[in-house]
């Protein structure tokens, strides 16, 4: 082995500061994208189960179009192709206010929303159709039935796969470095640039992602246990305790 490890590059110079700012950008990007993904995912996931076919078709189009193109392509699309289509004033404003960050948020949010939509649809379809019928029979409109009965149950059912998608989103945020967003992976490469110590820098990045994802997973498994509905599939989590 001709490679000399020098772990001190991670805490000398500006490395710590870079990693921290990268972590913050990754979190900001992921949280903003997650909110978009949840909103789009809930709406389109619910619409894919309604009777009225034009709404179902629109939701299906959204899901199939956005989930079947690689995220990298979406990053380039929102960064390179969309801004020139906007009015000049908006484009200038975006260029002055972190266009790459917002392009990455939209790219990641819309892409993950399509994936999340499928998770939610599976949750809704796991609920017996009779529940919707009973809700409507009790005088609720279809919207109210979804809002007060179907969605609250479905969202609890999908916590495990939903967590999975959320962790994917967090890790996928690293693709944003291709459009020059200075997130965590970008900053680990930055350390490499200054110190030529790539393996140390990559290890630091790996550890941070790992700790972040394991913490979120643990938190969500706690949420899952707390919100489990006895008698539905999440009951398995309760018994294990």
């Amino acid at each position: 082995m001709n490679y000399k490890f020098n772990w001190s590059v991670l805490w000398t110079g500006e490395s710590g500061q870079w990693l921290l700012s990268g972590l913050i950008t990754t979190l900001e990007l992921s949280i903003a994208a997650w909110l978009i993904a949840m909103a789009l995912g809930i709406v389109s996931g619910a619409l894919r189960t309604v009777r009225f076919w034009p709404l179902r078709a629109a939701a299906t189009f959204y899901v199939e179009f956005f989930r079947n193109v690689p995220l990298l392509v979406w990053m380039f699309f929102w960064y390179f192709a969309v801004p020139p289509l906007l009015p000049q004033a908006i484009e200038d404003w975006l260029l002055a206010h972190g266009l790459e960050f917002w392009a990455a948020v939209v790219a990641l949010g819309v892409y993950s929303g399509a994936r999340f939509s499928e998770v939610l649809r599976s949750g809704i379809q796991a609920i017996p159709r009779t529940q919707l019928e009973a809700s409507v029979a009790s005088g609720l409109t279809t919207f109210q039935a979804y809002r007060y009965v179907i969605l609250p149950v479905a969202l609890r059912l999908i916590i495990p796969p939903g967590t999975n998608e959320s962790l994917n989103l967090l890790k996928n945020s690293s693709v944003a470095l291709t459009i020059s967003v200075a997130e965590l992976t970008f900053q680990t490469r930055q350390i490499e640039t200054y110190t030529a110590k790539a393996i140390e820098a990559l290890t630091a990045g790996t550890v941070i992602y790992l700790v972040l994802c394991v913490s979120i997973a643990s938190l969500m498994s706690w949420v899952e246990r707390r919100t489990a509905i006895p008698g539905l599939i999440t009951g398995g989590g309760r018994r294990r305790r």
Partner: protein, 287 residues
């Protein structure tokens, strides 16, 4: 449950930290002798050093130096034919590729720096250039002095980005993983200028759909001597590679290859300055 998470994390750390240590044990010459292959890391989008041309061939000045000077030297040393295999490397990946043993030699557009010499070894310098800016014709940007507040693209992991950050901290630096993405950002107007080594900008300009649209501006604001990188401490292999380059410079073959890529009839005329020529000759030590 909790214990198993800890166990997995420790395993992952070990894998990340020590995989390269296990991968590379024997010397590069032995490895090349066994496999009959010299694996190099080079570029696909950095004309004329390493790029894919219109005929879809992976060619370039750096690649020719390996093929025509270093390969013969290796064949002479090992007494058998050696094949050159190319893999793509970029600024962020080239040192890891080398350290992990995925490639044996990085021959692209890599600047030899003192920091990098802590991690890898370098061959002789085979090209000298300096950083400039590529802008749309008529741009107000004329050099490093007036990029304050302007959006400037650079290649991530390059020496240029680092120098811009130090010398022009008020510039808004945008770093892209490779040259095509950075040029795309310039072409779309996402950035006002793209900085890279002058010769690479010239290559990019010449290969762009409409070269007249672009202008290379500014004096060299950095010194960028290109060397090929090898794994650290692999002296025997480095000697063979350097001997190949020296033989080429001495015999004039090096200058023929230079003429092919940068001569008056090439796509990118870039005459070698007398200083650069004597610098090349002075690097050659006696037999």
């Amino acid at each position: 449950m909790r214990r198993s998470i800890g166990f997995v994390m420790v395993l992952a750390l070990l894998a990340v930290g020590f995989a390269p240590a296990l991968a590379q044990q024997k010397s590069t010459l032995d490895k090349i002798n066994e496999t009959g292959t010299l694996t190099i890391g080079t570029r696909t989008g950095s004309p004329p050093f390493g790029y894919v041309n219109a005929k879809n061939e992976w060619v370039g000045f750096s690649i020719d130096l390996v093929d025509e000077l270093i390969r013969p030297a290796l064949e002479k040393k090992l007494g058998k034919p050696i094949k050159v295999e190319k893999k793509e490397s970029t600024p962020p990946t080239r040192i890891p590729l080398l350290s992990s043993g995925a490639v044996d030699l990085v021959a692209e557009t890599m600047t030899d720096t003192r920091t990098r010499r802590d991690s890898v070894d370098f061959t002789l310098t085979y090209f000298v250039t300096g950083a400039q800016f590529l802008v749309k014709k008529g741009s107000p940007i004329k050099g490093i002095k007036n990029i304050d507040g302007k959006r400037v693209a650079a290649q991530q992991g390059s020496t240029n980005a680092r120098i811009i950050r130090e010398k022009a901290p008020k510039a808004i630096l945008r770093e892209f993983p490779d040259q095509p993405a950075a040029f795309q950002a310039l072409a779309q107007g996402q950035v006002d200028a793209y900085t890279n080594d002058g010769i690479q900008l010239a290559g990019l300009k010449a290969k762009s759909p409409n070269p007249a649209l672009w202008e290379i501006v500014g004096d060299f604001y950095s010194y960028e001597p290109y060397g090929m990188a090898l794994r650290k401490g692999d002296t025997d292999f480095r000697n063979v590679v350097n001997a190949g380059l020296m033989d080429g410079i001495e015999s004039g073959k090096f200058f023929e290859i230079y003429e092919k890529w940068f001569g008056p009839k090439s796509e990118l005329p870039y005459p070698m300055t007398p200083q650069a020529r004597s610098f090349m000759l002075l690097q050659v030590v006696p037999k």
